[in-house]
Amino acid sequence: MRKILTFAFCLAALVGAAPAGAQQFRVIVNAANPTSALSKDDLARVYLKKMSSWKHGQSVTVVDLGPKSAVRAEFSMEVLGRDVPTMKNYWQQSLFSGRGVPPIEQPSEAQVVAFVAANPGAIGYVSSSAQLPESVKTISVTR
């Protein structure tokens, strides 16, 4: 068992050693949400549905882009540390073990923005260049 763990830790260290490029996405919430920043760890917990409410008590509603989105691919690697197919597998395990359903998927950034604008507890992400209405705001992601 010790050999397995050593091997796996080395493997993970190698995989995790890839340099990160400039962030091409921004995280958005409803403008009425008092939250202005989230740590990367909290953001990951929110997207893994292990943190289901905001600090002010409101329930979190998580929204993802579609599985073929390049922005989702980057978000998944940067925040969750796993690529989209691995996360699909993660959610299938969760779903069929009765532990939780995956985040809602929206096919376009415009629809993600509209969803967040319409749901006070929602959180989503869009590309850095996406146009945002006043009903949606960007929050910063800290280390």
């Binding site: 993970a12 995989v15 292990k50 409410s53 796993r82 197919p85 299938q92 779903l95 069929f96 009765g98």
Partner: protein, 400 residues
Amino acid sequence: MRSHNVRNLAIAMALSAATAGAQGLTPQNVEMHGFGSWNSGATNNENLYLGGMNRGSSRNANAGFTLTGHMDEKLSFTTQVQFDFTGLTQTSLDYVFAQYDFHDALKLRAGQVKQPFGLYTETIDVGVIRPFLSAPQSVYGPTANIGEAYRGIGFTGNVRMFSGMSLDYDVYGGGLNREEYEPTLDAYRVMQGRRPFSAVSDGVGTEITDQLYGGRVMVNLPFDGMRLGASGYHGNTNEQPIPGRGDVQAVIYSFEYAANRIGFRSEALREWESDHDRQNGWYYEGSYRLFGGWQLAGLFDRASTHLKGKKPGCAAPCSDRPVIGESLLEHKEYAAGLNYYFSPSFAMKASYHYIEGNRFAQPSRDDLVAQLQAAYTSGATTSPLPKYTNAVLLGAQFSF
């Protein structure tokens, strides 16, 4: 768990319908998902393995549906119904339970709930999420190590730890049905003089376990996709009305790393039944995603079983460890697989398996009994069973 009739399906549907009707569930807060699997297999001798047989077989297929209804932010109901098309179609109610979320760290579950035991028990029927068509037999084979679902009450949750780690836990109590198909152990006991050949079982049996309590802890390590943990349970099969007899307990240690192209899992199991046997199983299972949807997979799987000695007073040819039956207790397997994922939800899988021992690769029950009986009565000193088996499996698995 198989009910052999559609009563459970009717109950599940009725529960779902009643829940929806009485409490106001709408299509917007009900989700339906499903899964399916089919596989064909062939072996190079008379031994059967994972549905493969000497002249080939395409009998193995199953499908299931999961319904989850969210009453509100705290309360949800989940039901899963499964159909097994191997032979006569059988329907089973895998689980139906209610969950109330007090907090992310404390959720109450009650009903017939998936047993949190090891990495694969909760999703044992959903093949598309693992690299091989079947889960490793040493732990998840038909030996009553796992129960699939407990009937009772449990608590689950996730607790944040330090350094980016978190802990998923489950504790539960109630009852459990454990399925087993054990003609090999029965045959071995015949060799020990503990029972007649006519008592060698045919078909899947259910071991009802009560006075159950158990739990699981999984620590999510700072490396994304890596977790380590242990699960265990204790119960009583009530097979023996003597205090201390009929106790069963099992513990399993699990490790998983699943991130991006690499998947690696290893588990080690020990299961005790106080009145007769002890089973050990462990495996390494790895996978690597190549270009496109191609995936390579490898497995080393090992199981051994220890039974108590011959019946007291039993004369020769009874033996504590009958030579002609030794292979019935052993399983060692090497397997390699090649999969193609059209998407994460649909895969075609092919695998080659080399198996030593007859614990899980054995002839049909009648052939097994006939061969062992002939060897036993003639005083043979070597096993008549083919100890080495090559098997090839091909199948498709999906979910939605």
